[in-house]
């Protein structure tokens, strides 16, 4: 048994994901990050919303919570404020986080609450059979865009940075070591963090855009993976189809929300209570 398997709940195997789905790779990378940091499973909670990625908590041998569609961050906020000492990880898909859950995403980022989000971007609603999502590339065919997707997709990193997220990074499921490393860094970051993991949904999205094999779709992702430096040199037109990887935003000079509440609000309140008593 490898050290990272300590964080895996084998009793609930096999996983429900399609053969070659990137979700299993993200599951393993997170377990490896836990293992590298040697965190006590009791100090970890993995929370997820609804979708293929939503089923991931079932396979972690830690505290786990499978919530409602788009709302994992709200449950996690309640957990983090109650237990600021715990590592609160949220797993969310592109639909779960940026469509129905978008409002909670920008508020969690604005608050800078110490939740560690892993946003799995496979550009489609996989669980429900392959509908278009806010991150589906334009022109792609899906179950709900049979004539090609006309909607422009979000740039999640820019959206999150604008919402004042203090740690934003991106990796892909092809680059498992870098993915684990950036997840580890996000765990060590104080405040809200998002790691976007570009993943392959070849069964739904790939099949309708001649990439029905996981290896073929993995190559499609690899061709669009660029470093931040390369990305900055590109023209806006070129940039739209590229995924710059690595840490895109890291700002450590802001307080984490639950620390700010427990240290500053509670102490200020107790002082004002003492003063009133004296009056």
């Amino acid at each position: 048994m490898n050290k990272y398997e300590k964080y895996i709940r084998y009793q609930t195997f096999p996983t429900p994901w399609c053969p070659g789905c990137g979700d299993g790779i993200v599951l393993k990378s997170i377990a490896m990050a836990f293992s590298d940091l040697d965190i006590d499973p009791n100090d970890i909670i993995v929370v997820a919303g609804i979708g293929c990625s939503g089923r991931m908590p079932t396979f972690f041998n830690t505290n786990t919570l499978h919530t409602t569609h788009g709302r994992a961050l709200t449950f996690a906020t309640g957990v983090k404020l109650s237990r600021p000492d715990k590592l609160v990880v949220v797993i969310s898909g592109d639909g779960d986080a940026l469509a129905i859950g978008g409002n909670h995403l920008i508020h969690a980022a604005r608050r800078n609450i110490g939740i560690k989000m892993i946003l799995i971007n496979n550009g489609v609603y996989g669980m429900t059979g392959g509908q278009v999502s806010p991150l589906t590339p334009q022109k792609f065919v899906t179950e709900t865009t049979p004539y090609g997707n006309i909607e422009p997709k979000f740039h999640p990193a820019e959206l999150l940075i604008a919402a004042r997220a203090t740690f934003v990074a991106r990796e892909t499921v092809n680059r498992t070591i870098q993915l684990k490393e950036v997840i580890k860094k996000s765990f060590q970051h104080k405040g809200f963090s998002v790691v976007e993991a570009i993943s392959n949904c070849h069964i739904n999205l790939g099949r309708k855009n001649n990439m029905k094999n996981p290896v073929k779709m993995a190559k499609w992702i690899a061709e669009r993976t660029v470093t931040k430096a390369q990305f900055e040199k590109m023209t806006p037109a070129e940039r739209d189809h590229k995924y710059p990887v690595g840490i895109l935003q890291e700002n450590t000079d802001r307080y984490e929300y639950s620390e700010l509440y427990h240290k500053h609000i509670v102490t200020a309140a107790k002082e004002s209570a003492k003063k009133n008593k004296k009056k």
Partner: protein, 98 residues
């Protein structure tokens, strides 16, 4: 196996041609009932050790097999990229270390 799955095997064999068997033996452990035959490990292997094969007893009728164990260099790229915890390299040694 479909055309694309055959291409994954052909690519692996191409890679193997340019490699030599590794001096140090490595233990490759397959957890066959978890393997869904996706081929990601075959694609990840830098020495073409693994291939896909039709397998009636596997849920998806296809699974990975160790075609040339002597070529394995123990880099674990296959283990890292397996979504289903179905392949481990030197798994036994890891156990003793704990």
């Amino acid at each position: 196996m479909d055309r694309e799955e055959k291409q994954i095997n052909e690519a692996a064999l191409e890679v193997r041609k340019k490699k030599q068997p590794s001096k140090k033996g490595n233990a490759i452990e397959l957890v066959s009932h978890y393997c869904k035959g996706c081929g990601l490990c075959v694609d990840s292997c830098p020495t073409g050790t693994l291939l896909l094969e039709d397998n009636v007893s596997s849920k998806f009728g296809i699974s990975v097999m160790v075609d040339a164990p002597e070529y394995c260099i123990g880099c674990k790229m296959c283990e890292r990229r397996c979504p289903d915890f179905a392949i481990f390299i030197n798994h036994e040694m890891e156990k003793e270390k704990q």
